[in-house]
């Protein structure tokens, strides 16, 4: 196979992978869709912003600084391609687009470090202005020094729910409520797994305590009912664990239920997928070091499995070691054994998070028929249910053909997992029986070159 080693994604996983390849004397190609390296958690603010690392990354400031320094040191040693979208993969080459121009880049080995996005469960009103993902709420703050509202409600489940609420509190927002669909007992039951990383358990507890001290209402085991408002979010209706209904007024809502791996490119590179019962998602199959089923393709970081930023750094380095070894470069076994050993508790912690903050699959069945599931094409739960019922679509790709769900511009990134749940519930089948939306090129709409008018 001809060509360089290509790394896709300049987050913690991709940067550490590229760094290991450079250490071995290679000059890899490092491709990133956004203008700056850092990825999600260590996302950088634009040039000209002045907040220090401590203000942006809090407890993770030292790690952020180290990663950014590593990325800067790499720049002259790699073929660095920011603002470049990888939009397809075929025949051992990537199709990339930068500034409106596309080209094909053949690779000898490919390391996919494409990260994750928020995992979302729709509810009536979720398309209203003022509603963002939890990740979006955090990006507004981190990358643009803006809040999504002065009186936000945060709704969903997972560690990001509490972290983002806490970050908003620190930024001076009057957080109206933190509404968690997971019952508190789940967290207690998950402790044996979560204690694989005691520091993170303590940190999560601190966020909750600070929020409570500030008088923020935190409710667990809730059921979201709807977001209300004319032309913008004005209130959240929800049911508490005892079945009582509430209406909390607000001017913005951040929603999210954990993360979903960004797997389209792995799919186009023909990696095999398997259903992961813990995550309730289809994920690309890879061995412990990140080798996918296809020769020459490696997966690292949240794009392979959501184990968080620390694991992403280790997994990136490990995948690079595996690639180097397969290409015939000697790699000390001790290095790989050490990386695998350090990753083990992170894998265990991930299983704990899945238990503590489960994806509320049951909400899909309870979604009213008129609720929008697909925001790109405005497809309702009812239409999707009919595709599964009357038209007998046995799996998501057929349902997509009948209802257009997942066919829109986001390619099912936002609705795909929820749509599968709606379909499975309507057909009375287990979620794995309805399959997964297959990736299609281009993985994102290609930008149309446009210039500002004079």
């Amino acid at each position: 196979m001809a060509g360089p080693v290509i790394v896709v994604g300049a987050g913690p996983a991709g940067i550490r992978a590229a760094e290991r390849l450079v250490e071995a004397g290679l000059r890899p190609v490092l491709i990133e869709e956004s203008a700056r390296d850092g990825g999600q958690i260590y996302r950088r603010q634009p040039e000209g912003f002045t907040r220090p690392h401590e203000a942006l990354y809090g407890s993770e400031a030292a790690k952020a600084r180290a990663l950014h320094a590593a990325a800067e040191a790499l720049r002259p040693r790699v073929d660095w391609r920011p603002e470049t979208l990888v939009w397809a993969a075929r025949d051992n080459a990537l199709l990339v687009n930068a500034a409106g121009r596309s080209e094909s880049l053949p690779y000898a080995a490919l390391i996919l470090a494409t990260g994750a996005t928020d995992r979302v469960m729709p509810l009536p009103g979720w398309t209203l202005p003022g509603v963002t993902t939890l990740g979006g709420a955090q990006i507004a703050l981190k990358a643009q020094a803006c809040t999504i509202g002065a009186r936000p409600v945060f709704l969903g489940t997972g560690p990001l729910l509490y972290l983002v609420a806490w970050q908003y509190l620190k930024a001076g927002a009057a957080v109206q409520a933190v509404l968690d669909t997971s019952p508190f007992m789940k967290r207690v039951e998950a402790l044996p797994w979560m204690l694989a990383r005691p520091g993170l358990v303590v940190r999560g507890w601190t966020y909750t305590r600070d929020l409570q001290k500030a008088g923020v209402r935190i409710a667990t085991g809730i059921m979201p009912v709807a977001i209300e408002g004319d032309d913008r979010a004005a209130a959240v209706r929800w049911r508490d664990a005892t079945g009582q209904d509430h209406r909390t007024e607000c001017d913005a809502v951040g929603i999210g239920y954990g993360l979903r791996s960004e797997t389209q490119l792995a799919d186009l590179a023909r990696c095999a997928f398997a259903f992961d019962a813990g995550a309730r998602q289809w994920l690309p199959v890879a061995d412990e070091d990140g080798r996918a089923g296809v020769p020459g393709v490696y997966l690292a970081g949240d794009g392979a499995q959501v184990r968080g930023a620390d694991a992403a750094e280790l997994a990136g380095r490990l995948a690079a070691c595996a690639a180097l070894r397969d290409l015939g470069t000697a790699v000390d076994e001790i290095e790989m054994v050490t990386l695998r050993r350090r990753l083990a508790p992170m894998t265990r912690f991930r299983r704990g998070l899945e238990r503590a903050f489960p994806w509320p699959a049951n909400l899909a069945a309870a979604l009213p028929d008129e609720a929008l599931v697909c925001r790109c094409e405005a497809i309702t739960a009812g239409t999707l249910r009919r595709a599964g019922g009357e038209y007998g679509a046995p799996e998501v790709n057929r349902a997509k053909a009948f209802s257009r769900t997942g066919m829109g511009r986001c390619q099912g990134r936002m609705c795909g997992l929820a749509a599968a749940e709606v379909l499975a519930a309507a057909r009375g089948e287990p979620i794995e029986a309805v399959g997964r939306l297959r990736g299609a090129a281009p993985v994102k709409p290609l930008p149309v070159a446009t210039e500002a008018a004079p």
Binding site: E33, S34, Q40, Q45, P46, E47, G48, F49, T50, R51, T117, D118, T127, L128, P129, G130, V131, T132, T133, G135, G136, A137, I139, A140, L141, Q144, A145, C146, T147, I148, G149, A150, A171, G172, A173, D231, R232, D251, A252, E262, L372, R375, C376, E377, A378, G408, R409, C410, R413, M414, K444, P445, P447, V448, T450, E451, A452, A453, P454
Partner: protein, 99 residues
Amino acid sequence: MTGLLHRVGETQRRAVRIRVDGAEVSALEGDTLLVALLTSGARLRESEFGDGPRAGFCLMGACQDCWVWTEDGGRLRACSTPVAEGMRVVTRGAPWPAP
């Protein structure tokens, strides 16, 4: 109408002027187009399916909900487009050609 987003820092940046639905709007250098539009207003576009206004969702280039039309019919993904002096965009009544 007040904007959806609120600035909580980094306000010492240079001002940038753009036109939104014909009216002049002031933003700051380094803003994304989404932030420029939503600190002063509460919508980016009208859903082409008649279900109301939209204002983005993920802010990270994944959902494609934040498309904005320029006066000359171009399309910009507002959350990943830096604002630039003199941009002219429309958030109401724009044509919606097939993607």
